[in-house]
Assembly symmetry: D2
Homo-oligomer: 209 residues x 4
């Protein structure tokens, strides 16, 4: 039986008009990894709307691997997240909602650890020439929320699969674009898009092995 | 008449066993840029030996463009240097020489400004999707020394060409290699090697235009 | 009835021969904050030995406030920690023990949130001219371990008090000392010791209010 | 004969409503250092107006030491500048003037090295517990301009004294103020004002010795 690998990314948010995490989800949708079907989903940057969408996807696909992706504007490397916290605390999402220290799931556990093999993923990325590290905080914005909900619903629906989150850097074009027209500015860190895509595929391979 | 474009890079130094600046000089040696012959030279990381080598190259080739390259271990972007100072102040070079506040050319000018079109280079790199910025300090180690000597000898030999320096990031493999075996470490910033190579070619094109 | 405020800091570790967190614990031991007795304890940088010590202190003093302190070598500001994770993953402690992804309390919750008023503490520090921020990761070394154990034992012994952790910067002397003798080095971030001490007292006042 | 020590700082600029460099100049005005009279001057953040003011001060006071100060918003330590470049390249000053790659003194030398004992100053600061380093770039804004003009006019008027520049961090209050009301923000680096003042006095003492 062919099983499903679910890859999620985000639509653009705030002042960004591009989000590489969503582009990767779109690009991978319909492809295959180690014989498994990849379903790629672009999530809204909305606390309210992301919840039902994730719930539906996980209950429907019961993915063997759920890898969610998000943008880390100040990172020069791939961050494989260790843990998601049961908290929302951020500026406004794309619906204008700004939660302050609210639980994602009232009464839910304080945190879920990633069930992906995070150390093996980092090891494989490094050996493949891709800068990466384990990260101990996915923040308290949508990225953390999606990671928490992913792990939560995998449990709720008794899915026998692994789930987790990776933060990816700006693309090079995106970083360059921040200072176009201001030749004195310093661009933020970035990574070539095709290398990020390669990182995501490697992470899925390690997770499926 | 075909003229020469001179590209210099460095051999590895300190604890590094690889220097992308030297690899680019090797790769480009013998190629053509906008119809001009490229001569690529790998310089020793030696205050004493670099001097005669640069003097010979510049007096012999009278390059239309001299672009020297060096590694900037903490940068995530291409740094197009504005100025070279008449000072050597650093830890040991590969010969074990550690100058303290010594002039490169006793009695020489305090500084030489790059004669490359640095703002146009940065603009072109940014528009081409490569993070870059003008840098106001090339440090006080070999990189600054080579930039100073390059500009100095271009003047001494009345070469009607432009000269300057660019600092380039670690390659991705090199950055990843710093933390292989230490899955908790954070890799330094980096840039894909082929993108750095593309940046060097674009910088030469802008300089030749 | 006079109640106890418990302040813990650490002994030096690794290549450091000084730890401001331990110095503050020593300094405050025997003092009073808002009429309450302060007990200051210097903890060993030892996963094995810290456990019993914390257990004894908490069961004995049943502190109204437990504020643990630790050093954050790369921070320029006070970091008021939000959460402690049930994981130990670090290089060697002072006993040479290097845990890899082990739980602090097998079967314990994945995380404990600080029960201190972290946002109010940050607000008070900022209004008092002390740079501070909420931090979403206390790392996975002894600092995180002590925060987790503190919150764990407060629950185990049904102590009706608040507990949490603050990371503090290097002192200025300590940061300067890193580059004494290397006039070319850049010192790490730091904060004047008396300002850190003031921050700790303010945090305790806010917690007791 | 009593000689004069000239200390300059700047008025606030851009979005800042406070500039510690100007406050130090005001505070030190009229004081004595090692028996010498200190004259403290607050300079306008104006390329046009700073020139005549510096020229007048230097020709009038013929200072034994001229130490100019400016704010370095991203530094956690005192930066003792090595060199000033003959270039203005920046966003708008307080008069709205935004020069692009213009010389400060047309036909002037490309750079002036500080004539202060910069290494001895850094050494003394470090030994006194104040984080400090030599900096190889004073930027291309007003700070660099004032350093260049100071060294230039010392030469023009044949003053037998030393001149140079130090960049100082934000004060703690100023850094804290950047994130007051945004309890999620991270404050920039800073240094306690009284420590910066101590650093300036130590730098003057070393320069007068």
């Amino acid at each position: 039986m062919v099983m499903v690998v679910l890859v999620t990314g985000f639509e653009p948010y705030g002042r960004e008009n591009y989000n590489p995490s969503g582009e990767i989800a779109k690009l991978m949708d319909g492809s295959k990894i180690m014989g498994e079907d990849v379903v790629g989903i672009v999530l809204p940057v909305s606390y309210a709307r992301v919840r039902g969408l994730l719930e539906d996807c996980i209950s429907r696909f019961k993915p063997r691997v759920l890898l969610s992706l998000g943008l880390a504007p100040r990172s020069s490397f791939i961050r494989v997240e260790r843990v998601a916290l049961n908290v929302m605390d951020s500026g406004p999402d794309n619906d204008g909602f700004s939660p302050v220290d609210e639980p994602i799931i009232p009464g839910g556990p304080a945190a879920y650890f990633s069930t992906l093999p995070i150390k093996s993923i980092v090891k494989r990325l490094l050996e493949s020439g891709i800068p990466a590290a384990v990260s101990n905080s996915a923040g308290t914005y949508l990225c953390n929320c999606v990671m928490y909900l992913g792990l939560h619903f995998m449990g709720i629906f008794n899915v026998d699969g692994k789930a987790g989150f990776m933060h990816i850097p700006y693309t090079m074009e995106q970083a360059a674009g921040k200072v176009v027209g201001d030749v004195r500015g310093e661009p933020p860190p970035s990574m070539a898009f095709n290398e990020v895509l390669r990182a995501v595929k490697l992470a899925l391979e390690v997770s499926l092995s």
